[in-house]
């Protein structure tokens, strides 16, 4: 387990980003993470297309990554196909030094977000966070 240090000297926890086609699902999932894991993990959510309808928006995903940014990296949890493709695109549009510290996690959205946040809270590395959440992925 490796703990990246922030400039303040406290260990940086991996940030979690929740991306759903539905703003309600994204916010609800974030609410569950907050209630079950607390507020010490950097967390951001986004949902909805650029018009606010169902869908995902690359611009909103980039903003959510910025909001949850941590020196330890950011793990993104998504619901369906378009959210995954748009998140991959968003990662590629990040500044280069952030790209390698941002990962897309292949796990069910709600359970994965809670597992990822729990691992992040415990000080797990970006790799630990991803692996723990991906244990939930159907095989």
């Amino acid at each position: 387990m490796s703990l990246a240090k922030t400039s303040a000297g406290t260990p940086a926890r991996v940030g979690i980003v929740i991306v759903s086609h539905s703003p309600d699902v994204a916010r609800g999932t974030a609410d569950m993470v907050r209630q079950m894991v607390g507020t010490e993990v950097p967390l951001a959510w986004c949902g909805g297309n650029p018009d606010g309808g169902l869908g995902t928006s690359v611009e909103k995903i980039i903003a959510a990554i910025d909001a949850a940014w941590s020196e330890a990296g950011v793990a993104i949890l998504v619901d369906l196909g378009g959210a995954e493709t748009n998140s991959e695109m968003a990662i590629e549009l990040l500044p280069e030094e952030r790209q390698e510290r941002t990962v897309l996690v292949n796990a069910p959205l709600v359970e994965g977000a809670i597992m990822a946040a729990t691992e992040a809270w415990g000080g797990g590395s970006l790799d630990d966070v991803r692996r723990t959440a991906e244990e939930l992925a159907p095989r």
Partner: protein, 211 residues
């Protein structure tokens, strides 16, 4: 119908680029309801609405896009689609245009177009983790690229795009939302194949107008 802008490389001017992207945007916007209807049959029902939103953004910025050299114009239009579409087709079509922009010279000849299309199709395959034969836009783009590489004329390229889109009807989807439907995806044209066909037709028409 004339040939592609010749075997001779000719730089496209701002008017040409405006014609090109204007034609693409008009056809997508005009067919938005049809694309959405196709997507309601086997997808998540938003392809037309999404593509319309993306191409409306391209239209809104058309003068600025057309003022750039062709490679930069393609990248700028692709970025509009990435940012504004709101579905998986945004990154897919955005990647297509942005890769064309990265690969094409400012004054492309036919060989350049064939090579750039091949590179763009590879980028779309990587973005969508897809191959031809899975009932997607690739099933139109790949035969169109082959036709361009063979040196077919514009009328033939249009016909090949139409045949390729129609050929997705009996296919079973194995990628994208339609793949959730399994056998039930058979019997419907793929909406991404149809939007690709529309864009190919628009490009052929615009190129016909240049000559």
């Amino acid at each position: 119908m004339t040939d592609l802008p010749g075997h001779m490389a000719v730089a496209l001017g701002a008017d040409d680029i405006e014609t090109l992207f204007g034609a693409m945007a008009r056809t997508i916007i005009a067919h938005a309801e049809e694309l959405t209807a196709l997507d309601q049959a086997i997808g998540d029902g938003d392809h037309g609405v999404n593509m319309k939103r993306g191409f409306e953004a391209v239209t809104a910025n058309l003068p600025a896009i057309a003022a750039k050299p062709l490679p930069e114009a393609l990248k700028a239009a692709g970025m509009e689609l990435v940012m504004k579409v709101g579905g998986a087709s945004g990154p897919l079509y955005g990647t297509l245009l942005m890769t064309l922009g990265k690969t094409l010279p400012a004054a492309p000849g036919r060989g350049d177009v064939a090579a750039a299309l091949a590179a763009a199709i590879d980028a779309v395959k990587a973005r969508g983790k897809s191959e031809t034969g899975q009932k997607t836009m690739l099933d139109v783009l790949a035969p169109v690229q082959a036709a361009v590489a063979r040196g077919e004329d514009l009328a033939t390229i249009r016909a090949i795009a139409a045949e390729a889109a129609a050929a997705t009807v009996p296919m079973r989807a194995t990628r994208g939302r339609a793949s959730f439907l399994g056998e039930r995806s058979v019997g419907h044209m793929d909406p991404g194949a149809r939007s690709s066909q529309l864009l190919v037709e628009a490009v052929c028409d615009a190129i016909g107008d240049f000559a």
